[in-house]
Amino acid sequence: MSMGINFIYGIMKVINWSMGEFFMIGAFVQYILLTSFLGATYWYVGVVISALIVFFLGALVQRLLIKPMFVGIIEAKMEYATIVTIAMAIFLRNLAVLIGGPYIYTPPDYAGPTQILTLPISGNRLVALIGALFLLALFYYFIKKSWTGKAFQGVAQNRSGVQTAGVNVLKYDMLAFGIGTALAGAGGALLAPIFLVHPMCGLVPTVRGFEIIVIAGLGSIPGILVAGLTLGIAESLGSAFINPSFVDIYGFILLVIILSIKPYGLFGKAEREV
């Protein structure tokens, strides 16, 4: 999730506020696929298809709404991007209520409860964990090794620079937005049995996602893993020793502490402004 947000920001310097809704769409698509076409055993196929569908949706949104920012029609870019993606989020959320109703759907389990050594663990969580790690690895490999990935690194560092080197920046923007949203969609599909499927199910992961990128520092991909772990540890420590019902607050306190010490996040750098 955070990967997706930060990836889009890194490339396009835009925060996509409707990320949680793409997560939700991924979860819905997965639910429909599993209950009507595939059946629970082929959940991994479902994840891939959901990610693909969300990818195209994300790319379409980018083409229609975000691209005009970069071809010079829109003046106040941040203002525009923020408002449009927020409106998008509310639009999609209410559209989902309109279509699916405000109900909670429970998708079938991906795997039964298992035991690791003596620790009982829900199969769904195990699947989600392995799936997320696999996605991260795949994403990392893609960025570091493939030509497309190298081009992305270039775009993130210097937009006009790579443009002169013959890279079609606008095409990569669309791809980046698509991939970023697809990560959210895949996340939604993977986590569907845990968070369940309803129009607001993207909210919790998005809050956490934003907290993670602020802690990590905007645009820093390696920072995310560290920040995610730190946040997880802070939350479990807080629930274990203080009070389990206020999990969110511990994460936020951690964020406040880190920001007061390092204003740009753990791995962020001050940007060159002029």
């Binding site: 941040m78 203002e79 559209l95 602020v214 905007l218 206020f246 740009y264």
Partner: protein, 320 residues
């Protein structure tokens, strides 16, 4: 300064109409308008921040919620009177926004949006989950300020607060601070080089806007009698943005026109809750994409078009 301009007379007429309106309309519409006034204040104060200063707070609704809960809880748990609890609610929002402002306005502007958003969700969850103290999802009864269910006194109360908030914002924007805020939005680096202490004025704008929201929230709770975590729902924030964008960003009348006209439309379409939001957000996206300026820009263009038509091409104003 000319006082009797067409604009000022128009505003005076509107104000007089607003004062006499409760004699004509039903209690229900009186209530609807009171709520609309609340949103007008929220939209106008958010416009001060998001529109003029270019700083996006996504926790504006949360500050109203904090104001409302603080005042209500102080009264029901500690037995404080109104004149203590309401200022206390406003002070708390000012204090929190000051701390958040110092924390995130030192760095890139987008941090304010990210952090206020996370803050909003955290606060909402706190109010939902700590039900022994806050009443949880069910909400909490707020003592009514006039002790009556009749909407008319609350209507006048909110009319008064709205006028106060709008005048306050107008004064800020016409003062030096207003100049600084606009210069920061336009080009913060140039503003800095001209001697503007940008961090200080950004934080000022954030505190002022949040304080106004806190005030509106505190009074709102005591006017509708029940507050719940719904006030902290992100939909509320989105509505504020919708009002401002549809009315017209960076205009003083925009948020007012936007809030009242959109609330009115929503009231008419109240049976189709989701559809109306879907439509409204779609309108916002279209406005942002194709027609930056909202209703006020539309008025301006129509006015210009009429003028040009009347005065002929000789005096046609050269469009920049």
């Amino acid at each position: 300064m000319k006082i009797f301009t067409l604009k000022n007379i128009g505003m005076l007429v509107l104000l007089i109409v607003a004062v006499f309106l409760p004699f004509v309309i039903s209690d229900y519409w009186c209530y609807v308008l009171t709520v609309a006034f609340f949103y007008t204040i929220m939209a106008a104060s958010w416009n001060l921040l998001g529109g003029y200063t270019g700083q996006f707070s996504l926790g504006h609704h949360t500050f109203a919620m904090i104001g409302a809960y603080t005042s209500t809880l102080l009264m029901s748990k500690a037995g404080a009177p109104f004149w203590v609890s309401i200022p206390a609610g406003i002070l708390l929002t000012i204090f929190i926004s000051c701390a958040l402002g110092i924390l995130c306005l030192r760095v890139h502007g987008i941090y304010l949006a990210l952090i206020t958003w996370a803050f909003a969700e955290v606060v909402r969850n706190y109010f939902r989950l700590h039900y022994a103290f806050t009443g949880g999802d069910r909400g909490i009864d707020s003592p009514l300020i006039f002790g009556t269910m009749k909407p008319t006194p609350y209507y006048y109360l909110f009319l008064g607060i709205t006028v106060f908030a709008i005048v306050l914002i107008a004064i800020i924007m016409r003062s030096r601070i207003g100049y600084y805020l606009r210069s920061i939005r336009d080009d913060s680096i140039a503003a800095r080089s001209m001697g503007v202490d940008i961090v200080r004025y950004k934080i000022f704008a954030f505190i002022a806007a949040s304080g106004i929201a806190g005030m509106a929230g505190a009074f709102y709770g005591h006017s509708i009698g029940l507050i719940s975590p719904v006030m902290g729902d992100f939909n509320e924030m989105a509505m504020i943005i919708i009002f401002v964008v549809i009315g017209g960003m960076r205009t003083q009348a925009g948020p007012v026109v936007g809030a009242i006209s959109v609330r009115y439309t929503m009231e008419i379409l109240r049976e189709y809750y989701e559809i109306r939001i879907v439509i409204l957000t779609a309108i916002v996206i279209l406005i942002m994409r194709f027609f930056n300026g909202g209703l006020m820009e539309l008025f301006r263009r129509v006015k210009k078009w009429i003028r040009r038509d009347g005065e002929g091409p000789a005096s046609a104003y050269q469009e920049p």
